[in-house]
Symmetry: C2
Subunit: 695 residues, 2 copies
Amino acid sequence: MHRKRARILMTVAVLIAVAGLLTLPASADEGMWTFDNPPVKQLKERYGFNPTQQWLDHVRLSSVRFNDGGSGSFISPGGLVLTNHHVARGQLQKVSTPEHNYVKDGFLAKTPAEELKCPDLELNVLMSMKDVTDRVRGAVKPGMSDKDALEARKAEIAKIEKESLDSTGLRSDVVTLYSGGEYWLYRYKKYTDIRLVFAPEVAAAFFGGDPDNFTYPRYDLDMAIFRVYEDGKPIKSPDFLKVSAKGPAPNDLVFVSGNPGSTDRLYTMARLKAARDVTYKLRLELVHRMLNVFRRYAAGGPEQARQADMMIFGLENAIKAFEGEYKGLKDPQIWKMRQQQEQEFRKRVAANPEWQKKYGDAWTQIEKAQQLLMTRLNQYAYRRMPGFRLPRLAETIYRYVTEVPKPDGKRLDGYHDAQLDSLRFRMFSPAPIYPGLEEALLADQLDLALNKLGPDDPFVKAALDGRSPAQEAKYLISGTKLADPAFRRELVKGGAAAVEASKDPLVAWAVKLEPQLRKMHDWFEDNVESVFTAAGEKIGEARFAVYGKSMYPDATFTLRLSYGSVRGYPMNGTKAPPMTTFYGLFDRAYSFGLKPPFLPPQRDFDKIKDLDLKTPLDFVSTCDIIGGNSGSPVINRDGELVGLIFDGNIESLVSRFAYDDVKSRAVAVDSAAIVEAMTKLYDTQYLLDEMQVTK
Amino acid sequence: MHRKRARILMTVAVLIAVAGLLTLPASADEGMWTFDNPPVKQLKERYGFNPTQQWLDHVRLSSVRFNDGGSGSFISPGGLVLTNHHVARGQLQKVSTPEHNYVKDGFLAKTPAEELKCPDLELNVLMSMKDVTDRVRGAVKPGMSDKDALEARKAEIAKIEKESLDSTGLRSDVVTLYSGGEYWLYRYKKYTDIRLVFAPEVAAAFFGGDPDNFTYPRYDLDMAIFRVYEDGKPIKSPDFLKVSAKGPAPNDLVFVSGNPGSTDRLYTMARLKAARDVTYKLRLELVHRMLNVFRRYAAGGPEQARQADMMIFGLENAIKAFEGEYKGLKDPQIWKMRQQQEQEFRKRVAANPEWQKKYGDAWTQIEKAQQLLMTRLNQYAYRRMPGFRLPRLAETIYRYVTEVPKPDGKRLDGYHDAQLDSLRFRMFSPAPIYPGLEEALLADQLDLALNKLGPDDPFVKAALDGRSPAQEAKYLISGTKLADPAFRRELVKGGAAAVEASKDPLVAWAVKLEPQLRKMHDWFEDNVESVFTAAGEKIGEARFAVYGKSMYPDATFTLRLSYGSVRGYPMNGTKAPPMTTFYGLFDRAYSFGLKPPFLPPQRDFDKIKDLDLKTPLDFVSTCDIIGGNSGSPVINRDGELVGLIFDGNIESLVSRFAYDDVKSRAVAVDSAAIVEAMTKLYDTQYLLDEMQVTK
């Protein structure tokens, strides 16, 4: 499974930092292409297909970004949005209560009135893209230091975003592509009134659980349906994808339109080496430790288990992904390939004196900055805001009230004018917060910092304030009122003065820690990020110079188009089939003696006679995807939705670093299974009617 | 799949030669134990099971060896024998005609009168085992050279076998165990009137074909039933295994009683190195080349395809097995483990001056003999009797008439008195021979010898006789009458004089080549085999001295008992289940769009409503098996047959060199599936009645 990737990455924060560099000309079905530069040549040569601008616009406008880390698409003219159950899982958890567990039991609104409003789900639709490279570059004046250049770029970007927001009312993000080879202004229609319509039981959506996660063959109905509202009414969505009741055939050309989170396909070798030799191991340790905290908490009882479910799922998912990536990174073949690519690229740059002068030193600069960062690795790993949601809310609120009064161009990333709407939406989310869970994680992470940095570390000293980690966590969490959104609003309303004077222990604590955290942030920006950005831009330009624009940028959680065909692959001595069927669901269930996670919902057994068991359930294609693509529609030539991306196979985890069309596969729910299940297993005929699906 | 292993090995002959050395004390569920030394301690400690002598005798007397390379068991008091379809496949092919393809269509005798007599199938039941180590060792006198010692041992063995045959009438084989640590006389009741009773369609037995071969999860009904006759009547078989209609449960203790062909678990490192660095690659080339010849032949039409079917299956099977073994051999972990084992063993020998004096030089001697053999590798690879069945019959006949008149102790292996009955049974087999196929393979192998050895090589010169390979093959095959068993009998009756005077071109050709081939044989025996045998005996003794007899010998295609439990394993990022079901059969069939080899027989679709699809179909256990074990019964504590071994998973191929209970698994047909299929799919109720199976 892919989605929670982006989220978890943020937790471990700065270690991996700014995503990738550029990519070599693509071969095979490779590439996550921007909609302004679709792989027209490859589509024509490999598949004899020539997408019209209308086709591309329709696909783009039907595609939806789930801002907490996934993708989706409109599937009816009335604002129905299809995504994965596991993309919806966070919201399902948030609208659940001790009495109603919608993750476990699923949810179905029989009428629009029963649709459940999500507390903090923002969806985006990409309305336009504009190249602003010249403007961003123009802000950097000759002779500027890397540090000043970074500031100048950031200020200009904030300005572009603000102007665009003011003039269009659309969410406006400047996206750095090709590691600075290009800057683009992406404008989004933003929706924040999203309501839950339908989700099957997690036992159907996530059949096979963590063992089957990131593997194939699979038998999952990993789907959920939301509806988008505006002004209290369902929106009209003229651009929607018609769900095919048939699904794709083997070898069919298919497309994936979604938001891959990040790839590191063209990290320089210096950065890859740091990841391979140090940071992956560290991240895995940290994530394992977090998972243990949540597991211990969940063992406390069914209600605790319900509260921790989402994080346990997310962390198990992250561990499996990281382990797969780490394994890929250690694969000598992958390593050699990447080395050769870099050597070849640098050789071609060096062969042209002008290029060599302009770009030649970029690799060494990155290497040095990376080495510098490694000397402070321990600080950056353990001196960070510990805990879960409440401590972060405290930090965000304090930053909000101190950053916003500054000129837009001088603020921290995330606090620019154009970003404030979305920020406030999250900051004031009414989603439930569980103090027990908050306290457990905070205590553990304080303990970790204490063990790793020692009691005399200034950050540890300030964070513990003479107490033990457990005492301090108890003191902070039991004393804070931040779980109440109204309290947060009031704090923000009072501005910096009110926050700094707050007696709320967690708020006061965040205020106290902020100078140290900010200092670390500034050091990273001045000494590492600025170098990575400047050198990255050089490498980006060099790549255009050497290879032209016959390529795609590394993933940036913005809309991309991938293409490929429905195809099995060689697996463990035999062949994995292009698709699976409902027969396989029951085979795997009985094979494991009907024990979870291999136990489908009772509904499946009750209605087995109604089901056409040979209906395709999941299928694989060669489309190039990664975490963030979860929930993406799989689309055929005719623009019909034939599948729903929900995972990559275990062999695809290496695709963070390199694409391989021999064994890497994207795993999708077959649209035929969606229709079959919605018809025979769930009473959703009224939705199928709205979706205009005919069987 | 396992079975054809032994056969193919013979084709590539001497390169790998005399099977393995001894094994270290077994851990986990490891071991292919002789019935005189069952793993009593392990069974007690690990499973709390204490097999009685009666239990062991019953299992042994119910077990049947298929002499052309497989295993089986009695399943009724009236002589019914259960084995794999793929063990039966050779006989199914031989009783088929252009009109009746029993491999493809299956076979069912509705009454005993319809049972089909097999042309050349010999079954053996192990009646007794006797330690004859002292007698064989006693034949070697102090001061004898390795060469003389080898001759003395062989003569004594022939004598023991002859005496036993004469006194008991039982087939009598002296078996070398623990590489000469022990010699045992095994006496068998021999059956040669074997009739085919039931076989399903190959599409059911070998569903998934070559891709799924040696893999799991599997969905194969790889079974066939024969009946044993004597004096024209079905025998009484009081020792038979009752087939369980239920099959095993996960984690059940189970046993496998069968005839593993060969393992190299304690080859010295010198011999392993030669295999890894040279011989595996060479063998794979040769086998690929043979496969290509048969494939080209099969492409000539449906009748040619029918004729070549068995060999194509066998060669594909061999290639997959060799590739898996080769991969295991190249695995640095396996290599290191084996190295450490040898170092540890040699260190313990060296630590005792007496042992060091007696055994210490054995490893170096083997290494030198191995190196010597490698200098003649090309000769041994390409100067051998080329072609398929007819050239070998010519060779066998000439050797028969020249060897048999000699004193028994002086003859070539295979021509001793005690072996002649079985030899004549094969030599005069009425099984059909296909001249087109014979000619194609002979031409190709002559061509290979010409290319590899050059036109001036004396063997090549003699073999081609001035013709091109194609001309010579055509001349020899079109001119010979050896396809007729009556002609063979007549030749043999005439003795050496008649054979040497024969005008049959193929016979004359074999007579002409024999001196060169015999010279090579003698050189190998004098310079390599004698050293391997003498040094192997030393290492065998040393192993007893160091480790005692808490171990099992390498496999020798004699009866062994393995044990383990029904258990899944970690696979490709997830878990493989302990068993599969009929649901899975249909899943995999529809997953691949009902295309062969993923297309079950039409019967399965016609009767799908009758089938209980959740019936277990195949299962895996940790039992330690290898090629030759195909068709072995899987037996529970109560002595019931709960499964039918037919394969190992891809991870188990390394078990030629080392056992691993984490991922290596034996794959069996579940007895519940056998009963379900025999009840619902095939009209075999009368057989189930005879088998006393109640559902």
